[in-house]
Symmetry: C2
Subunit: 332 residues, 2 copies
């Protein structure tokens, strides 16, 4: 099923419109579990699914009508079947969720958000819980293989790690799980995330090995928990270090606050420079979203000269560049 | 520029994703006036536009990057040029606005809205001001030519009209403008709309001819203002008459409350039955949206037998069927 878009005809514009509805449908269908079930079984009775899950059947089937409109599934009344395009969409579902669940309020409010006079203080809203939901999978899809390869290149024994901007603690627990005998501390500015992290660490049996402290990574003060940390990780928040002079200051501060650190892994998105018609999934939403929020996104070329000035040696740059110029810097 | 979607490859899924971002961009670019300027001049310096309008230049250009990603415009830095597809999108801009500005909160909240246990009371939110903004143009794009043709078939002289569900009064004022010597009354459940209508009628010089009263069209009581009304119009709310027994009762009530009425024009969307892959702009969003809101949408076949039972003779059915099965019934 191929549908041409942007042909200057009614079907092309309808494809753009129907894709916008489908993006909402993909995000929601993932969150309610229907997308996973369809992915496994290749077919799903959506009305039956709705009844099992306590959902409105007509609306639930409607989500899959939206996916059928853009060629992801085929539908016979309430029963849907995957088409070839389904699996590529499924691999990218977390990016749709970021846009349509996590960031919809930001994009809905564009006319107000654009006004220069409005762009101070808390001038936009997103759904933090939905963003966190999407980012757990975005992390796995984009960074995980390269992250573990970078961990494998750590050429010294370590017993204590810290994750900066730890969210609900998933990365820290993954590291503790893979490296028996280590302990760790997670730092995040959001107290609710810290509480979720403590709870999940307890449930996963890491209570004795993982600590979580509330703190602003951009303004850390020395703490006993930080003194012996040899390995630092910091994912999906490096752009918050910027602009440049703040970034240099933050990198230097990390040296002071973590005096025993011998490796810092920074993984983040960077600004890309692709032609408008070759943008992959996520880039367009991510970059427009950060422009709307007034957040500077450095390029890899912006980053690289900053490390030496900030007191770190750049050992290796891993360009992942799957969607939004993802990169992992290995610093020593 | 043709981009295949739903080919099972990364570009196809990226087209769906980028279309979702473009839908937000179209809605916002219309509302800030940039789309109209580009439509007239065929080219626009978006950074210059942003500065003139007091908007953030990088974000404003970003809106057009999104449109460039789906083949609607071509972009050289901040300067954009229309492509062939632009005009068809421009004709449909109000439908994008309905989805991405007016209804975004409803679609963002799908996982919660689907839950049967949540579907009572005010269980969803939309942006009423944004919906009204879009619907003024949707009315012009879809109903206007057929409406005026139906008005031309009114085969008796009339001096007093009523518009049911009048919103901010645009239709009533258009009728008064076209038929000198007439007076009219608009009825709407929303007091803010009534106040806007009164203000706009005053400014447009209709203060002496147009009255506006707050009232629930589904539960009207006789009023002196209604006694002499010969012509009734009711647009984009007929589906609220349903389910069937309520619809019959409301139609009968209109006979009682407007004893002098000789013509009733009901214009509304109706449920369609197109194949999933042939859905035009608007249908998918409109029908899924109403399923989510739990609103019954009758088909034309549901409607037609109801009129006689409700005390009205169906003189003519005008099927417009531009997007969402629009129809205008002429009743006597």
């Amino acid at each position: 099923m191929a549908v041409d878009i942007a042909q200057g005809n009614a079907r092309g514009i309808a494809s753009i419109y129907n894709s916008a509805v489908a993006a909402y449908a993909i995000a929601a269908a993932w969150e309610i579990g229907a997308l996973d079930e369809l992915h496994r079984a290749r077919t799903l009775d959506t009305a039956d699914f709705a009844r099992r899950a306590g959902l409105d059947p007509q609306s639930t089937t409607g989500l899959f009508r939206a996916m059928a409109a853009v060629g992801l599934v085929r539908r016979d009344d309430a029963v849907v079947h995957t088409l070839d395009a389904f699996d590529e969409m499924y691999r990218n579902k977390s990016f749709f969720h970021w846009l349509s669940r996590g960031s919809a309020e930001l994009f809905q409010q564009i006319p107000a958000v654009l006004r220069t006079e409005n762009r101070t203080g808390d001038y936009y809203r997103r759904d933090p819980a939905a963003i966190a939901y999407a980012c757990r999978e975005i992390d796995q899809v984009t960074y995980a293989p390269t992250f573990w390869a970078a961990m494998g290149r750590v050429d010294f024994p370590f017993t204590r790690v810290a994750d900066l901007g730890c969210g609900s603690g998933a990365r820290l627990m993954q590291v503790l799980d893979r490296y028996p005998g280590t302990t760790g501390v997670g730092v995040d500015i959001a107290q609710p995330s810290i509480e979720v992290a403590r709870k999940e660490a307890h449930e996963a049996g890491f209570a004795g090995r993982a600590e979580f402290v509330q703190g602003d990574v951009l303004r850390l003060e020395p703490r006993p928990e930080y003194a012996d940390v040899e390995l630092l990780t910091c994912f999906m928040m490096g752009h918050d270090f910027w602009p440049r002079e703040n970034c240099v200051a933050t990198l230097r501060r990390l040296r002071e606050v973590f005096p025993a650190a011998r490796r810092l892994l920074i993984g983040d998105a960077t600004r890309t420079a692709l032609p408008d018609t070759e943008l992959p999934v996520f880039t367009l939403g991510f970059e427009l979203g950060h422009d709307l929020m007034g957040t500077f996104l450095p390029t890899v070329e912006d980053w690289e000269p900053v490390f030496a000035e900030g007191g770190w040696e750049l050992v290796r740059t891993n360009r992942i560049a799957l969607t939004v110029g993802e990169v992992i810097f290995e610093l020593a």
